[in-house]
Amino acid sequence: MLLKRRLLLFPPLLAGALGAQTAVQRTLMDREGEGAPPATLWVVDAKGGRALAEGFSSLLGASALKVYQVPMKALALDGAKAREALASHGLPAAPQWYLADARTGALRARGTALPPPEAFARTLQEAGFRDRAQDLQAYLKRNPDSLEAREQLMAVLRQRGEAAAQRFMGIQVDARRERLEGGDLAGASAPEGSPKTDLSQAKPMGAVQDLEAWSAFAQELDTVFRSGQWREMDMAWTREGRPLDAASLTLQGLYLRWMPAVEEALRQDPSSESSWSLWCRMSEASGGRRLRPLLDSLRPSPLTPKSEWPPESVIPLLFASAKTPGDWQALKAHYQAVWEDGSHPLLQRSVEQTASSRESDWSGCLGPLIECCLRAGDATQADALFRGAMEASRWGSLAEKAAALAARCGQPALAARWKAAR
């Protein structure tokens, strides 16, 4: 309804307006997903100590408790935050842990020492924690056609797979949403996983670890591909999941098996964002199928403007995988159409043009177009484009940016000429 639509706009809006992790922002984020944790575990350690926090980290990572996905916040007793938090619950200023209700903030349980796993499992259940996957699996036994239950189960299993894979590989990769919650707006708008994800720096997973991390998720994904339900499911993990897939042979094998099914769906609807999102995730992880042959096999509608084909979501992948002059020619045709379609701040000298509008025109269109020209071997057109924009905009930074680009593309003479044009 109307209210929900408005609320969907809030998180990014408020993240920018109110700064990182405000209470309002948390409230809005919590509302978005069902099955949000019912409470938060707060752990307060003595000054300079981490014993309680580390004890709980290890306790919650144990297989009996990790299914509850308990959010934990660790504080140091000498900090203002800890004092404030303890005072708000009327608790003494001493090392301790407590569970606070996520909605009301009310105290649900507390203690001063690390509890035994069985006792803490009971505490969590009494505080409302459930093994969501188990609940959903039980529901699916009664309602095997429920797509929503399958979507949610897939999300839970994906999350668990990511947590386990990160633990095994000894790395921490932020998801886009986490960057946003942390106030990293630039990072949140960057492509998923970059620049922190470098799986080559991670410990490789053994076959047993790989299976332990991913088998439940892989099995569920295989099930929905076999039943055909995948086409109707919102695979949010393809957009929001951590890009750890390339480190898993289990996932790679699964993706390679089912990519032809996604390609078949793309043949029916070549502009479908959800199908492309899934295909790109699979392709990036498996590296087994190239984009160009797929694009060549698709028949976009004759009404699709050149500037909208290939679809925007595919362009970064196309850029990353372009090798031959033919690949660059195809990309060039796309950017050429984008360049010719609209009006461009870089073709105007109007005082209304701000540096940021020119900046985004450069990075979103003219820069890629010039790069495509250079890599496709058409330096003359690149030069003409540069000179046209330079003459029209008289934008000082343009010469510098274009020169750097030419240098990156192995055109030192052109780079020197463009730099001098400033």
């Binding site: 069902e34 969501r132 529901y139 043949r267 070549p270």
Partner: protein, 418 residues
């Protein structure tokens, strides 16, 4: 119905023959004006005194046989870049107004200085090598019959044309016989009905969200004029079980409810309560029936006049929103800290106030003889955002429901000084 009309209005600019003034951006070149129209475009240019042929050309394009071309008309400004380029291309002086049919190039295929007739425009187009969007899509689909996106685009073209023809055909029929006759029905809706069924059976309307710019979602809904077509009514009734099955698999998906509503408007039987009967809410679900079903319950109530099923659904939605608003305000207070100023998240962002959903709840209460509850709800939301227009809207609603005393009370609250 209101939402369907709204979507139709949103789509209208890209589908219907229209007048688009480009005077707002005088830098747009003729090539840029033509680029989105490979099917061709009618352009007009006024004379030096500003007399143009826009209205006459537009009127001709809205009549048969030109109507079938589904072409757009744009009126150019003589001082604009595109206007100057067109005058130069045609070698026109400014003593007379002009119309012209242009295609990519740019190239003029036909032109005139007098008001054109619909036949003249259709004939001029027929002599040109240009192809309409619908013909281009038909030809493409002959070679690629399972390309669903193109099927959806063609459906939208056919739907638009059929709606315009149906409107004209129904205007001459008595109001108590609002159905098209067999022959007219087949002529107007035949191709749309055939292609819709093929598209429906392809099943891509069930696919995960293809994106906001995809034509698939919009084309999946039946025409708002389907109720006047016996053929489409039969189609809707026949396909409704598949839509309901899809809804039961994913009852929280708004798109599926929208599709279901379009089938219901076309005369297919069904009720929101019956669709959800026997379904279990998901474990941990905060709302049941799901939020996406609220519109359907309201439509059911408005159609049948029976608000008993809709009331608890609307009440739950209202309660959930109020509770969330309280949480949000508490969070905002926390953010503002002890020295923070007044916090009003509802007022600031425009929710928690009088809106369509609250109005439906108030309507339900009034129909079910619960005026005190209706009054309490209105008082609460009006206290939050006391705008006179909200009081007027609520008073009108009360009056429509026969609650005159409440209507007077609410109307007074909207008056200055109260």
């Amino acid at each position: 119905m209101r939402r369907v009309l709204f979507v139709a209005l949103l789509l209208a600019p890209c589908l219907r023959a229209q007048v688009v003034l480009t005077a707002g951006d005088t830098r747009v070149s003729l090539v840029q004006v033509l680029r989105p129209h490979p099917e061709g475009l009618f352009l007009t240019l006024p004379d030096a005194q500003g007399r143009g042929l826009d209205s006459a050309t537009q009127a001709a394009l809205e009549q048969e046989p030109a109507l079938a071309l589904q072409l757009t008309m744009q009126a150019l400004d003589r001082a604009s870049t595109s206007g100057r380029e067109l005058a130069a291309l045609g070698g026109w002086d400014s003593t007379r107004p002009h119309w012209a049919l242009l295609g990519p190039g740019p190239r003029i295929y036909a032109e005139g200085t007098e008001a054109p007739s619909a036949t003249a425009l259709a004939e001029a187009y027929g002599r040109s090598p240009l192809r309409t969007r619908a013909d281009t899509l038909r030809e493409f689909l002959r070679a690629n019959p399972d390309q669903g996106e193109a099927q959806a685009q063609l459906l939208l073209q056919l739907r638009d044309l059929a709606e315009r023809r149906a409107e004209a055909a129904l205007a001459s029929r008595p109001k108590d016989h609002p159905l098209l006759g067999d022959e007219g029905d087949d002529r107007i809706w035949g191709e749309y009905a055939d292609r819709y069924e093929r598209f429906f059976n392809l099943g891509i309307w069930r696919d995960a969200d293809p994106g906001a710019s995809s034509p698939v979602l919009i084309a999946a809904k039946l025409s708002v004029a389907a109720e006047h077509s016996p053929r489409l009514r039969e189609l809707a009734a026949r396909l409704m079980p598949a839509v309901e099955e899809a809804l039961r698999d994913k009852p929280s998906e708004t798109r599926r409810w929208d599709l279901w509503l379009s089938f219901r408007e076309a005369g297919a039987r069904g009720s929101a309560g019956a669709v959800l009967a026997g379904l279990d809410p998901l474990p941990g679900a905060r709302r049941w029936p799901p939020e996406a079903a609220v519109d359907a319950f309201v439509e059911d109530a408005q159609q049948s006049g029976d608000w008993r099923e809709a009331e608890p659904v609307l009440q739950a939605a209202f309660d959930a929103n109020e509770a969330f608003l309280r949480q949000l305000e508490a969070a905002a207070k926390e953010d503002a800290g002890p020295r923070g100023g007044p916090v009003d998240m509802g007022g600031a962002f425009g929710f928690g106030q009088w809106n369509g959903e609250v109005a439906s709840l108030v309507e339900a209460k009034l129909h079910l003889g619960k005026p005190e509850e209706a009054d309490r709800i209105f008082q609460r939301v009006f206290a939050r955002v006391p705008r006179p227009e909200f009081a007027e809207a609520a008073a009108q609603l009360a009056r429509d429901c026969g609650a005159e005393a409440l209507a007077d009370k609410w109307a007074r609250m909207g008056k200055p000084g109260n």
